[in-house]
Symmetry: C2
Subunit: 501 residues, 2 copies
Amino acid sequence: MFSLQTRKKSARALLEPAYTPTGTNPWSQRDMVAVPYVHTATIPGPQSLKELEEFADGWGGSGSAADFINDLDSSVGCYLADADGNMLLDCFGHIGSLPLGYNHPDLMALLDTPEMRGAQVHRSALGMFPPKGWGKLVARSLGAVAPKGFNRVQTMACGSSANENAFKVAFISAASKARIAEGRGADEFNAEERESCMVNASPGCTDRVILSFEGAFHGRTMGCLSATRSKDIHKLDVPAFDWPVTPFPTLQYPLDEHQEANRLEEARCIDAVRTAIATAKASPTGKEIAGVIVEPIQAEGGDRHATPWFFQQLQKVTKETDVTFIVDEVQTGVVSSGHFWAHEAWGLEEPPDIVTFSKKAQIAGYYYTDKLQMTLPYRIYNTWMGDPAKLLMFDKVSEVVARDGLMESTKVAGAMLLAGLESLAQEFPHLFHNPRGAGTLCAINCKDMDTRVEIVAAMRMQGVLLGVCGKSAIRFRPPLIFTANHAEIVIDRFRKTVAAM
Amino acid sequence: MFSLQTRKKSARALLEPAYTPTGTNPWSQRDMVAVPYVHTATIPGPQSLKELEEFADGWGGSGSAADFINDLDSSVGCYLADADGNMLLDCFGHIGSLPLGYNHPDLMALLDTPEMRGAQVHRSALGMFPPKGWGKLVARSLGAVAPKGFNRVQTMACGSSANENAFKVAFISAASKARIAEGRGADEFNAEERESCMVNASPGCTDRVILSFEGAFHGRTMGCLSATRSKDIHKLDVPAFDWPVTPFPTLQYPLDEHQEANRLEEARCIDAVRTAIATAKASPTGKEIAGVIVEPIQAEGGDRHATPWFFQQLQKVTKETDVTFIVDEVQTGVVSSGHFWAHEAWGLEEPPDIVTFSKKAQIAGYYYTDKLQMTLPYRIYNTWMGDPAKLLMFDKVSEVVARDGLMESTKVAGAMLLAGLESLAQEFPHLFHNPRGAGTLCAINCKDMDTRVEIVAAMRMQGVLLGVCGKSAIRFRPPLIFTANHAEIVIDRFRKTVAAM
């Protein structure tokens, strides 16, 4: 029996990959030989508990939901070490924000480049004082992987800032069109607008609204939160704009076995959007809908999927009614869906108007179409407008994805994971239902919330770290180096866990 | 005559400091031998123009207000190099967000520490997956310099997120107190609250409001923007909450020569706050004021000062009426006012309820008092909740401030700068008035907006980079290594500029 110290070192030695870039993702293949390892009687173990106590004492902060402590130095690949030397196969990846797992050699090497060092030591105010090469860096990183049809992007610091500013673009666009319709210039504000906005009143501050869907999650600042509809605990006690909400399709899985019923459900939801837009336009007191925002997969809301047809129709409605169509890819973007951007699976003939991103991209921001380019400075603006160091991280992630074939391996791993979840649902129908997924963005529902709590806790003691969403779903958000072998380990541990229950 | 390339190298060699930490800030003293240098006929010069064109072509973004390109590698100390090899004495410091100037050796050295490397390669989701030592890091950095009376802090990614969440804390606090008054638990939500919040309606989404001051700037996300009152261009076309605004004192400078008139003006503004709070409480349709937010110096609004008495009275009113008192130190925090936090100059007997920060801190967030600690997780929350790498930057900045006596040198530099501005106002009364300042947070008003445009442009050609604010003010926001010698150069260049006009 190893001591804790010895075991920690030996676990790390076992997992540590010998990295030789050959174009076939050898690093993640190497950690396939590893397995999860839990040696404490509970997680959190004693070391985690000790740190968490210090935490609560003084400087733990307002919002912590932590119940164990990470040891990042000892983590590697898809394996997260905790403070007690347990090695957990991480299927949640920091709420879907971990692009290449732990201590990826290419990201470590990036830290030593002069470009990265310069970006780290100065956090430029990019909107006013851009550094040399900024335009080229944006072009080679976000530009190179832009969804089809986009040649413009604005960086931001986080997902909420990305969505808040996407909304602002939609509002400014709608107001500009209204001014043009009145025979004014797009930015030719009148005195009434200039004065009323200073007291937060219309017409200067618009009465227009953003439509979002039941179950949606778009962030927690007050604009974003007004579009978020997933859980009451996020929204209670905080003011919200009187924005409309319509149903998101509640589909039956597997999708291809329920095409007819699902089409009817999606048509119902599209009709609701069309009606909401039309009603607002027709009524003298109606609030014009400036934008519609939707997630490709409703994540926080329970990993709810819709078919390409739904999104095609949604875009059609927004085009017919001249409403800005915003796709929130904060959680679905960057390869894990099996496409670089999840909405690329929809086969749209024209791009959405705006696509927002953050999380695995490390940098946040939004792509937008030419017609949404601002003509005045300082309307979309803040001090930092992103962070060059995070954009360099994104650039390297994209490079590794392409070089190591991570899109393909993610598809394979996701297919393996989904097949495993389907087996579980067949073997244990009293516990699991509705396995579903795109790429590694997989999910399965548990019988109920209590069962989920029990299974997720037991799986953690089996060395597999899972996320949850909605009322009873387990959600998978592993890093992009998650392979079919990792998927096999996960399914194997599920079987062991359930057998012991 | 040097070629551009030669001159650039030689300028850098001239400026490059030989850093030997002796506790007397030798690095910034060393660059005192340098002077601004401009060799192009215009700024932007040809290289800047070339990059800006590429920029506009493709990937420049929504909001750029840039008109020249920085060369950070060639910048040093307080001197910002542009893409054409001009060396500008930077008195604006990336909108007040540059803590230790360019290429500070201690920040460069920080990049090589294992702690910083680990923080850079993983952007932890701190609210759920904190790394080992996170509590200790917060304690030794933000904890060690906490304003008196605070032992709690929450990190965030940017100033807007800091203020949005400060507002949320104020709203949650007010709603919790109301529930307790009804005989419920603070977090004992009823069905009506739970249901109404999901459709963005009260009582679940509160009708309560935040009071801010005319001329205030608190950020650009929709909650923040509802409290921002500085300029219409920031607010036009964006929805805002129907929040109240009261006047900020318009004082006469120098403050000590107009004490009586200023006191009357401040009393008038305090009365307006008291009346707004009381009226809202008394009226059956009034919207209860949950919080009041104020900047120690209204920056974007025109560098408008108030006296400690004003802020003392403001706190008194909020305490009497049980309203959360929020001090926005996003721009004034971190030493530049001559105190670590500007509000420490007010001599408050008890701390404000919340103090927000960002910019020079590199990390953002807010200090808050014990009574504002959340009891439930996920109410104040987001994916990243800050960034450990930026907190390590802040930690190093604080260490250098203490070691190199930057608080003292900032006071001396600020006094020298203000004295110089006072001379300018006396020598050129037709051009300048109202010199004012705290530490290096100095400002002076120009005759009018056109005169300011002319002076700022001419000063840039003299090698001094200035910021502006309000209608006619020039604002100084240099880094913390700005010394009395730099101040002398600035004033000297002002004289040359004005003489040539």
